[in-house]
Amino acid sequence: MLENLARVWERPEPPQQQEEMGFFTDTTLCIGCKACEVACKQWNQLPADGFHWTGNSYDNTTMLSDTTWRHVAFIEQLGHEVKRDRWLMMSDVCKHCVQAPCQEACPTGSIIYNEFGNVYVQQDICNGCGYCVAACPFGVLDRNEADGCAHKCTLCYDRQKDGLKPACAKACPTESIKFGPITKLHQIARERVEQLHERGENGAYLYGADAAGEYSALNSFFLLLDKPSVYNLPEAPRRPAARMKTNYLVSFATAVGLAVVSACFFGRRE
């Protein structure tokens, strides 16, 4: 008993900082096999979300959720309206933002950056407030009905600790999902875009490799062929904390204003 109480005050050394790791998902190589979805569920022992046929191309898991941490989107672009018939596929995942709104919103300190620079939810600290769910502009986080806590991709923290690739990257047969040190991934991704441009694929670009507007770079970034919204990604993701200063100022100004007005109305005494 005493021992347990004493342990509460122990502060072990945090793990040593490692090279920042992340994903680069190259959608031009994705064959939509969904091996990443299954590998993720198998490794992380996540339940199936139920059997609902959507009729939306081959996408029946529809979105990322507390129990679906990889999701393959299918976009059919065929017919008379398009120049070239395309069937776009993209394996979506937590973006592991360099400056993550979910982490900023978390009041308990449950969401942290781990030693690999990945955004990680500590399940034993999460109190289930759900602020992170609202904060994430990509709709990645979700609260689980059963335990009430927020869940999302851990970037296979447990596997990384053992020197293994995340399950999805390991299962990807075409190396559409690449895992590695961020600096190296950036280099590979830029070369890849150049190569595609040379080949005439002018629409190819990187999504999230660099900070843009109010939003930071993503440690899990993508190579896309069409507008982000086509893949159900925000064109300009917003980070609530970026407006914090303005919002505080506005609030303060409002408070001052209201105080002045109140003073004017109610402050007049005889």
């Binding site: 939509g32 046929w53 081959y58 898991t61 690449k178 190296k184």
Partner: protein, 896 residues
């Protein structure tokens, strides 16, 4: 795979998937590789990233099409017309690889004067007997000029299908048949092929296939531009070609095209046959087929003079080429099976081998079963109640059995057909006694897969199977022991084969699992012992044989399957278990073991020119090293390693000595690739376009509508739509989805897979949906004369209506993964298909048949209850396996 066997000598993929990355152009046809073989598809994608052109020709725009540079939609079942168009383009525009064709194919060989091509006979070849629907062996005269006109000794009667290499080698007395190297003689193979395909013009082919003439020219140009000395193209096919009444000839057509373009036996070239199941290649090598013994040795037949070993060898022997060695392989096989009981005096036990007297392949067998002629059946990992064509007839057949043993992981359709299913069966009326035996999964047993490229890969057991689940080997081994005990006292001659069968695969020591704990199963046989026997050993001192060259005809060696010889060359060396990547050689010879003789690419002598030099630096693979006086390169030469390129056979030489130094196709008696196949296919020496049995379109090329020697099995449950029946105006093809496996026994009981594709649907075009008032996501009914199924409608632009000879033709795609057992249930695509038999291999035609559709549901809605989703997450203890036993753990972190 007689299509490949008849063209090149061996019925297996000529190349390996890793080699596809070296292709400059890949034509994927009859295959949905990205969906059905996603792991192998990394290599076509690698080729694309290196600048290769990927082409997909298919009735549906699939995930494969999405990855290709060029997609051409065609009508299901018209592949020979399309390939014929390509062949014609190559010949007419003089784009063939002259030196290769002259040296390595039978282009110059003269054909018998009495042979008449289908071109002149309205679509049938000489020797056709219309009433019998057969080619009469004594009249057909398909052989080379100067060959005896009597029936070749290797020919099997048409009642039984022979896929042995005796048949594929053909019988040619003269290894150097008369020829005309100028290719001008009208009776030479080249001129015959040219005439045969002359009518396959782009315009004609376009009107048959429903594509544009431009499409054919674009595909042909891509292949021509990427073939020759400096460049190579590959062709990939799968069951989209085989499941037709013309399947074998589709593959033959691909063989002709690749030979003309000079792409066989060269890096980045070849024909990659993608097999339909795990280890299907293995189950033809060590066959589960009724007509073959291991290693493509013909099964003795009661219909031929196979009474004694001498008679049999006299009939099946081939004098020239490598197959002349086959008596050694047969005797070694008999020694492996019958051990000491096999002696020279009793012909090594040859008389104990069962004789075949009719076609016992799966579909005819099930028809006999439906007629009540079969008493009992074992099903190992097979699900005919949902997975076989005309599954309704298959279920009716199962209901006629006395007993049925199903070994599987779950209670699949074939195990619960007596109380579930579209027929609403009355259990009381079904007498079949069913024994359901739980089976172990792959990770729960040791074993060996032979994959699509002939590569043997061993896998070790990871954990014990749960409860009473056991491996199939365990089951068969103990069943064998019990049956042997039952007959132990029998003196009957017919039982002596069983009693003398070697059956000694006990373990020496207790099995230890990878986590260090002993296995709780004590009577599991030692599967490595079986592989050792398959590899072969010397009888005297029981040492492993390392090469099939060392097998003997005198009974001093035993070998369970000669082509696998070398997989276990030493007592403790299982090469199938080896997993070494070679960073400097993409063939990685120490990754698994590839038959024959760890050869990754077959016929690779053709990667060098006739003088033995590589055709080009860019495409070098195997070449003659003049200093060392041997063939060398990146792979094991598929040739006598010391036979110089300028070797000329002496007169009357036999066996391999009869083949010159520039004959790469060593299984063939003339050493050539066969543009024209004088033997090996029963439906003609050249591919000819025939319509599917059920087709709304007449044959635009010939009077003969369908394959003249394919057969339809008459049965009340197997009716066919009349030719061009207006009631069935839509062309249907069945297909796979990545998310499921076959008829679903391995995937529809897995919640993770079911959530990805939870319901049966049919893909239709917006035009068809509008014409029939079908809504996207709504219900529709698909109907053939055999059955009707209800399904959801997936209306998509990926399916296009085609203009076939001026007529608007609709096609639909039906995934065949659903049934009535499992977590998700749905209409059975295979209920719609018929049993019509391809003449060479008795395969059905589920890839092209006629149907009709309507909006709505079936009158009687069958509410087959699906099972509940699996209770995830499971919290079973994971075994503590040390990293040294986890090969994955040894790779460094990060993929980049």
């Amino acid at each position: 795979m007689p299509g490949l066997g008849a063209s090149f000598g061996r019925g297996a993929a000529t190349t390996f998937q890793e080699d596809l990355q070296n292709s400059d152009c890949i034509l994927i046809m009859g295959s949905n590789m990205a969906e059905a073989h996603p792991v192998g598809f990394r290599f076509p994608l690698k080729a694309r990233e290196r600048g290769a052109k990927l082409i997909h020709v298919d009735p549906r725009f699939t995930r494969t099409s999405a990855m290709c540079n060029l997609y051409v939609p065609i009508r299901a079942g018209t592949d020979i017309a399309f390939l014929g168009g390509l062949i014609n383009y190559v010949i007419q525009n003089d784009r063939w690889f002259r030196e290769y064709v002259l040296a390595y194919t039978n282009a110059a060989t003269l054909i018998s004067d009495e042979f008449v091509d289908a071109d002149e006979l309205g679509g049938v070849f000489s020797g056709y007997h219309a009433d019998k629907r057969q080619y009469e062996p004594e009249r057909k005269r398909w052989n080379y000029k100067g060959e005896p006109t009597n029936v070749p000794a290797t020919e099997t009667p048409p009642e039984i299908k022979n896929e042995s290499w005796s048949e594929k080698a053909g019988f040619i007395e003269n290894p150097e048949p008369p020829s005309d190297p100028t290719l001008q003689n009208p009776k030479c193979v080249f001129q015959t092929v040219k005439r045969h395909f002359a009518r396959y013009t782009p315009e004609m082919v376009a009107s048959i296939c429903g594509c544009r003439p431009d499409d054919i020219i674009r595909v042909a140009e891509a292949l021509c531009e990427n073939s020759g000395r400096e460049r190579t193209s590959a062709i990939v096919y799968a069951v989209g070609w085989t499941q037709h009444t013309t399947g074998v000839q589709m593959i033959r057509a691909a063989g002709i095209l690749q030979l003309l373009l000079g792409n066989i036996g060269r890096p980045g070239g070849g024909i990659m046959a993608m097999r339909g199941h795990a280890s299907i290649q293995g189950s033809t090598d060590i066959p589960t087929l009724y007509n073959l013994l291991p290693g493509y040795i013909p099964q003795p037949s009661a219909l031929r003079n196979h009474n004694t070993l001498e008679d049999y060898l006299e009939q099946e022997r081939v004098d020239n080429g490598y197959w002349s060695n086959f008596p050694k392989f047969l005797v070694s096989l008999l020694k492996a099976w019958y051990g000491d009981a096999a002696t020279k005096k009793n012909e090594w036990g040859f008389k104990w081998l069962p004789r075949i007297d009719k076609d016992y392949s799966q579909l005819p067998h099930f028809i006999r079963m439906a007629e009540g002629k079969v008493k009992g059946l074992f099903l190992f990992g097979q699900n005919p109640a949902g997975g076989a064509p005309n599954a309704g007839l298959n279920r009716a057949a199962l209901r006629k059995l006395d007993w049925l043993v199903v070994r599987d992981w779950f209670e699949i359709e074939s195990a619960c057909f007596w109380y579930k299913g579209p027929e609403r069966p009355d259990p009381k009326a079904i007498k079949t006694e069913i024994f359901f035996m739980p089976a172990a999964a792959a990770a729960e047993k040791d074993g060996c897969f032979t994959n699509t490229q002939r590569l043997l890969q061993w896998h070790d057991k990871a954990v014990d199977p749960p409860d009473n689940c056991r491996s199939d080997t365990w089951f068969v081994y103990h069943l064998g022991k019990k049956v042997k005990a039952l007959y132990a006292d029998s003196k009957a001659e017919r039982d002596q084969g069983l009693l003398n069968l070697t059956w000694d695969y006990e373990r020496d020591a207790q099995e230890i699992l990878p986590d260090g704990r002993p296995s709780r199963i004590h009577d599991e046989p030692d599967i490595e012992r079986i592989l050792k026997e398959i590899n072969g050993y010397t009888v005297e001192d029981r040492r492993q044989v390392s090469d099939f060259k060392n097998l003997k005809v005198d009974g001093s060696t035993a070998c369970g399957c000669w082509i696998y010889c070398g997989v276990f060359p030493e007592e403790d060396r299982n090469r199938a278990r080896s997993r070494q990547r070679d960073p400097n050689n993409y063939t990685s010879p120490d990754w698994g073991f590839s038959w024959p003789h760890n050869r990754r690419m077959m016929y690779n002598r053709a990667s060098a020119d006739p003088q033995g030099k590589p055709w080009s630096e860019r495409k070098k693979y195997i070449w003659w090293d003049e200093e060392q006086k041997k063939w060398t390169g990146l792979d094991d030469p598929d040739f006598d390693p010391e036979k110089p390129p300028d070797y000329q056979p002496k007169k009357n030489a036999t066996g391999m000595d009869a083949l010159a130094g520039d004959c790469p196709f060593i299984m063939k008696p003339d050493g050539k690739g066969w543009l024209y196949a004088p033997a090996g296919t029963v439906d003609g020496p050249l591919p000819t376009h025939y319509e599917p049995f059920e087709s709304p379109i007449p044959n635009l090329l010939y009077d003969q509508r369908e394959n003249p020697v394919a057969t339809h099995r008459e049965h009340s449950l197997n009716p066919l739509a009349a030719p061009m029946d207006p009631n069935y105006p839509i062309v249907a093809t069945t297909h796979r989805l990545t998310e499921h496996y076959l008829s679903g026994p391995m995937s529809r009981f897995n919640s993770w897979l079911n959530e990805l594709q939870p319901e049966m649907f049919v893909e239709i075009s917006p035009a068809l949906a509008e014409a029939y008032g079908i809504e996207h996501g709504g219900w529709m009914v698909v109907e053939t004369p055999r059955a009707a199924i209800e399904t959801r409608a997936m209306v998509t632009n990926r399916i296009k209506e085609l203009n076939v000879n001026g007529r608007l033709l609709h096609q639909i795609g039906i995934p065949f993964h659903w049934g009535y057992a499992g977590e998700t249930v749905g209409g059975i695509a295979n209920d719609l298909a018929s049993i019509v038999l391809e003449p060479n291999v008795s395969i059905h035609e589920a890839k092209a048949f006629a149907c009709r559709v309507r909006a709505g549901r079936l009158q009687e809605v069958h509410a087959d209850r699906p099972l509940k989703p699996a209770p995830w997450p499971t919290r079973e203890r994971a075994p503590q396996t040390p990293p040294s036993n986890q090969p994955e753990g040894q790779f460094g972190r990060g993929s980049v």
